[in-house]
Symmetry: C2
Subunit: 309 residues, 2 copies
């Protein structure tokens, strides 16, 4: 009743040669790494299909769903990115990328997923400036965020290191999702540290929000009886010439969704505390967040790590 597949596929009672024949259709000019990735993907897709004995109706529902993902996407909405987050893939890829750093003997720098809302166009702002460009929104809680970016090995500050911050407004929307209320680059900005590696700027205490539920991801949330909420978070990307870039997210420790983030991105050491701030007309809250960057081998441009975008 069962036959064993080569290459790690699971035993099953169907044609034992079928999956390999699909893999073997790849021609000799296929890039070796792509061959490795696609061979594994085809084996797992087929193993999944056989394991659950996927019916024709279920397969066709999947086909329609895959089409819906791309049809939901627009120039400012990446539903395939969101879908992969909802299935935990971006967090997993982040863990895998990070594990490599671990094994090279360096202390891991906390990282988290990029998400679909980073913009390559965020402007540099002056230290001490504010990313709250459109005025404090209703329920918004202005915060002075500040810290020092240092070298993991030497413990010395990194003058000129760049911290890129982006966050949703208090209504849970990013600028390009919310053109009625926000101008472009509201709640986004890049800051260059001073000679002491220090940065400081004004932002908002972040607000928990729902992923958009009118597209493919929404259909999946309903079908899987899952909530669409992300815990409140601040997105950060830190870069400096000669250092490995770090992309991360910070979460207020008291947010009810930090234990059940719908994109599985929270890690314990990314939980932060907002403290009261006195005598500052611009902000009632204070957030200190210090960053350690690991040196990278060889000379590379500081933005190399995000060139993929």
């Amino acid at each position: 009743m069962s036959s064993t597949q080569a290459n790690g596929s699971q035993p099953h009672r169907f044609d034992p040669n079928f999956t390999q024949s699909v893999i073997d259709a790849m021609g000799p000019k296929t890039d070796p790494r792509l061959r490795e990735v696609m061979s594994s993907l085809i084996r797992h897709l087929h193993d999944f299909t056989r394991e659950v004995e996927l019916t024709v109706d279920e397969w066709m529902a999947g086909v329609k769903f895959i089409n819906l993902i791309g049809q939901t996407s627009t120039a400012t909405r990446n539903e395939a990115h969101r879908m992969s987050d909802v299935l935990g893939l971006e967090s997993l890829v982040d863990e895998i990328a990070h594990k490599h750093v671990n094994e090279s003997g360096e202390e891991p720098t906390s990282s988290s997923i990029l998400g679909p809302f980073w913009s390559p166009n965020a402007p540099f702002r002056e230290l001490g400036g504010s990313i709250i460009q459109d005025g404090v929104p209703p329920k918004g809680q202005p915060t002075l965020m500040h810290g020092v970016i240092t070298d993991l090995d030497t413990k010395k500050p990194i003058p000129g290191a760049v911290i890129d911050i982006w966050q949703a407004s208090a209504n849970g929307k990013y600028d390009f999702q919310d053109p009625e209320n926000q101008t472009p680059n509201n709640l986004r900005g890049k800051f260059r540290c001073n000679e002491k590696g220090e940065y400081w700027f004004y932002c908002l205490k972040p607000t928990a929000y729902s992923l958009p539920t009118d597209g493919a991801a929404g259909a999946l949330f309903t079908a899987l009886d899952r909530h669409p909420m992300r815990p409140a978070h601040i997105h950060l990307m830190m870069t400096a010439e000669g250092y490995k870039p770090v992309t991360t997210q910070l979460y207020p420790r008291d947010d009810p969704y930090v234990t059940n983030d719908t994109v599985f991105a929270v890690k314990d050491d990314l939980l932060i505390d907002f403290l009261p701030r006195k005598d500052d007309a611009q902000a009632g809250l204070d957030l200190e967040y210090n960053v350690k960057l690991a040196p990278r081998e060889g000379k590379t441009a500081p933005m190399e790590g995000v060139a993929r975008l």
Copy 2:
């Protein structure tokens, strides 16, 4: 260095609880079968990702590709369906569906994939009529196709059984891909057998053709160094009240692509021979194809099997 996952996932050196936490996010109202399917899908997607240690760049390339699939699709073009064919999924689902028939003790009726070109709107035509509505195209070879549809168990003919045929023209295109040369329902038609279970009509000897290569599937063919050709084929769907419907494809035995079909749909017993036909002004070729349908238990509508479309 490795930990073993519950539920059949492969050992790996990453967070051993992550995949289960994504699965466990499904709420209590999830349909039980959907929970089974999605649990397996999530496990295999994660196993694949860990197995090849998918990089951030590769993951992002996958995200873009998934979006491209839906963006390539239109009202008359189902790229996700095509993509699943190119990865062998529709053929595999067809084998799985068919295996069930096998195990109930009945002789298997040869089946093959539906493909994305079936139309629910094909008209009934008179026995002896022709599906070549727009005149014989250049290089077209008209054929009289005929046969008897019988009951697998009693061997008796099935009066009123319906045979639905669709095929590409000699330029490799179906009617709705080719509005400049073909009117709607050219090379499509349904025929109802006579009292002796006989059918006969005129069609073309089919022509090998390339899948469209300007979309997501085309990008994959190039990357995987694969050709986009399907062997020449005739699509058929046979239905009769009280019988299990059969969807299949027939392939001329002498076609060079029957051994390397890009959607992996050819089976040996679906290879057919076109014979010379004499004294027929309408056709120079003859194709006999007899069909056996298995009775189904209980009374059901003859089209139930295709209601999914």
